[in-house]
Symmetry: C2
Subunit: 574 residues, 2 copies
């Protein structure tokens, strides 16, 4: 059904389809109306005032930004009738777009620099005097060697990591680098440790991709030749240094100012980052060689430009629950202000699910969702990249509307696939068993864009159902272990760069998430990277992550016949 959207103060009237995304409608009508975070609900900058008309319900992300009627975030709302909205302003700067970061009291960053002035020679050993002066517990031997070179200047900086001095330098060193090593992408964040602000963020494709797209292929390459581990390790380290250099250049700072690096990732990526054999992760019981946290000078991790920075790698919990999942949980827990009965889902080829129980235990499990949600095995599937369709609507007349990144639509991203399947379900193109209905049963496919041959087949839907079944089996298992029902949940946090363009109501429609009200679902983006930043920003949160790693109860994915029956039931889209 067609609806009319009147946009004040420009008094522009736009035509739209019922159910279309409000931000999409405004963006194509008002030039200069940008979606700073890409319409992901992260930046809170697409705020509009609703003067009249009906829209879909307030989302969790709008609540996170403190949005209340008559205000809305345009990117979070769909129109259900003719509406009149008033824009707050147009043409803002592009925001940092990778996720929602909780506000924390900024007091004890993981690393800081303190000025030291020696007036007159103190009547005690200089190291003792400095330790007392800056109130730390100790100083590394490497730092002492630096002191040996610097002390005669009389004025210099001590660079502190947690409770020890790790360097002395002529200038303060107050940049932190947070890294999320993903199987596909490596994301980097530069944080100003003087005030906790994120100065810059970016990502690159993980160069390990030349050894295979997924972790299993890469592990196989190491099995074939141990040298490949060193090669992948080195290319990862070089890539991170490259990102760091780019970031420092972009913000006019020097790489030497980076005093501290925090790196998270899944267990395989962290093994490769540490140059530790990942092959045990490729066979039963899929446990890593190393799970403990590691820290030391960058040089110990083979960094060169960052050789003098202090690197901290949080622990992994098990083969499938890595430090990226810990970052997710950390971020979600702070956003939820420590609320219980919250579910945290990081959707990807390996989907991690965690549940905070009524007694504040953390249960975690993982589901092998497979590559369908990242474009794999899907006829028109693509990764979430330029050209990816991430949202689809079917009008009452059968016309297909869609949103995509970049200039030219190429195929369906995971969110696009979910959105399409949800819409097909709503409009009766398929039934809840994933079968094409009516006229579509003949061809057994549905064209999203016939001109560009973007299509979804019966087989694609089956692939999606398998992923959906794996994911919903995982959270259902955790709920069961905790003795909870979806109704008991106070919130669901959806993490991962995948999740970040997810339309929550679509995900609920197909049963990917537990059936709860949309305003209890928070799409928080790359919470693993945010977690790494939070650790950089707070010693307490570093301790918190280590505590969580010790205490998390890993629920091993079920196996055998019983599970098969359960999984088959979950193929149903509801």
């Amino acid at each position: 059904m067609k609806v009319k959207v009147r946009i004040l103060p420009y008094n522009i009237e736009a035509e739209a389809e019922e159910g279309e995304n409000l931000a999409d409608i405004i963006a194509r009508s008002v030039s200069g109306f940008v979606l700073p975070c890409g319409g992901r609900g992260f930046c809170g900058l697409c705020k509009v005032k609703v003067i009249d008309g009906r829209l879909t319900n307030l989302t969790g992300n709008e609540k996170l930004h403190g949005i209340e009627p008559p205000f809305r975030l345009a990117c979070q709302a769909r129109v259900l009738s003719d509406v009149v909205v008033e824009l707050e302003g147009v043409g803002r700067l592009r925001a940092l777009a990778s996720g929602i970061e909780p506000r924390i009291e900024y007091k004890y960053p993981l690393s800081s620099s303190k000025l030291i002035s020696i007036d007159g020679r103190p009547h005690q050993p200089l190291d003792k005097w400095i330790i007392r002066k800056v109130d730390t517990k100790g100083v590394t031997f490497n730092a002492l060697k630096k002191l040996s070179l610097l002390w005669e200047k009389g004025t210099f900086y001590s660079v502190i990591f947690e409770d020890k001095i790790v360097d002395f330098s002529e200038k303060p060193r107050e940049l932190g680098l947070a890294i999320d090593v993903g199987t596909t992408k490596i994301a980097a964040y530069l944080v100003d440790l003087a005030n906790g602000r994120t100065l810059w963020e970016s990502y690159i494709l993980n160069p390990q991709s030349v050894y295979g797209d997924d972790v299993i292929t890469r592990i196989t390459k190491v099995l074939e030749n141990k040298e490949n581990l060193s090669k992948m390790h080195r290319m990862t380290i070089r890539a991170i240094e490259g990102l760091c250099r780019d970031g420092c250049k972009a913000v006019g700072r020097s790489v030497e100012e980076v005093s501290c690096v925090v790196a998270v990732g899944n267990t395989v990526m962290m093994s490769i980052f540490l140059e530790v054999d990942p092959t045990p992760l490729g066979k039963y019981p899929f446990e890593p060689l190393i799970s403990d946290s590691c820290e030391g000078y960058g040089s110990e991790f083979d960094f060169k430009a960052l050789g003098d920075s202090w690197v901290y790698v949080p622990p992994s919990v098990s083969g499938y629950i890595g430090s990226d999942a810990l970052g997710d949980i950390l971020t979600a827990r702070i956003l939820s202000k420590g609320m219980r009965r919250t579910l945290i889902i990081d959707i990807g080829t390996n989907t991690e699910v965690a549940l905070i129980t009524d007694s504040d235990d953390i249960l975690a499990t993982s589901a092998p969702a497979g590559p369908a949600l990242e474009g794999g095995y899907i006829s028109s599937g693509v990764r979430a990249m330029e050209g990816a369709i991430y949202r689809v609507r079917i009008t009452d007349y059968g016309k297909v509307l869609y949103s995509y990144y970049g200039d030219r639509p190429i195929g369906l991203s995971g969110s696009g696939l979910i959105s399409l399947i949800a819409e097909m379900l709503r409009k009766g193109v398929i039934n809840k068993y994933g079968r094409f209905m009516g006229e579509h049963r003949k061809e057994n496919k549905f064209y999203v864009d016939p001109k560009r041959n973007i299509v979804v087949t019966q087989n694609d839907i089956r692939e999606f159902q398998k992923a959906k079944a794996a994911i919903s089996s995982a959270w259902k298992t955790l709920l069961k272990v905790a003795g909870l029902t979806p109704n008991d949940l106070t919130a669901v946090y959806v993490c991962g760069s995948f999740g970040s363009s997810l339309d929550v109501s679509d995900a609920l429609e197909v049963g990917l998430l537990p059936p709860i009200h949309t305003n209890k679902v928070y799409v928080i983006g790359n919470a693993a990277g945010t977690g790494a930043k939070l650790i950089l920003k707070s010693r307490k949160l570093k301790e918190e992550v280590e505590r969580m790693a010790r205490e998390i109860k890993v629920i091993r994915p079920a196996e055998g016949k019983e599970y098969m029956k359960f999984w088959v039931k979950n193929l149903v889209l509801q």
Copy 2:
């Protein structure tokens, strides 16, 4: 006066001078009677049974070995009349000769190796499993990288330092290296960490000597050119590795088995060992840049062959109280079984003195004794080396008898000088003000061996008196601070390779030590090196040393007029 010594079971009758050392008399009469520790009272192997006759009093060292009449240690006794003795046996092996080592319960050495067998893959991360298995607190990142290379073997060793795993290896690594870096000598000890036994010990001259004999000259060289610090550092490290290689070869072990190194030394030597600028130690207030303990892989200290060993350097207390003094105090305290009111003296160019007070506080100070006791500024002075005369007796007929190391007497060591001066005092050759008396006043010199032109002059005696004044001022100061008199002392421990050939009654005669009974004086040899060994052998003692370093009260050597008056009074030989 001549006396007769009858030696059973050989029934040999030897002629001797009254006051001659019993071991010397037996050694020249019974071939095969060796002094395993060189007659220093360390080994306890020169035990004889006294059948008849009078000898000097039991010494402290004899008490340490549990010797009671009618038994004696021949090297500790002098004959006062005709005597009859019975030998226990002759021709024993040469003992390790650098000092007396207290017996401790051998339970938790600083480093140990534990076998790990993985049967079946454990259902948890391997590092966690191993940590639990060997009951440690953690594992270093470097060790984890080794694990990555070794785990597939299924059986290997974890190498533990204190409470963390620092290496994994195919074979056990259970050798410890204790090092005492002296200004003149570097002493090394190889300890079997499986049972705590010292396998080998040796020393070499400190190669830094090419930069000057004393610490001040060496500091000056660093002031002239910072490069000299690196050069001295490197030659020291190379020298230690050379010693270690020699030792391993001698006992048929491999250098790779050395898992742990403990190095002590005075504060200047430790600065150079660590390659930290020692120049602040050369000027007021003579405090070091670094006093805290340091530890890490050998490679961080520039070791090559020992690059994978874990090196521990105990703290220094101040510019003049180094970790060598801590080693002395540690050793003495264990020997004394924690007794209070004990004095510990390490005689050398810089003499360290410590006093355990009634309330178990440790007071420490140091005295610039100068080089006289090491042969410096003395006409016929030599270091304690081959050819050094270490004991002198003057017969009633004015004949001079002396004992010396090696084949040919060359000059007087510090002990020799003390012995000579004590004997000259006894026999009225000089008075207590150090002036030659009677016929000797003419020449103002005394010939120890006219043929070899070994002589002592009035000036030599003055130099000795200055050293003696500095040392006795130091212990008198400590006694005063603690409100004690010499009578209150329960024991005096004399440390240092210098002290090890000291005749206690001679040292008492000249007032070098507080006037107490000889059997309360213990000559314990290189207690600094023994301290390093004790730390290797016990984690508790490592903690003990760190505690001592924090708690010791350093009494700064007095300055100014007041002290000068005190010092002048102490020139008197009594």
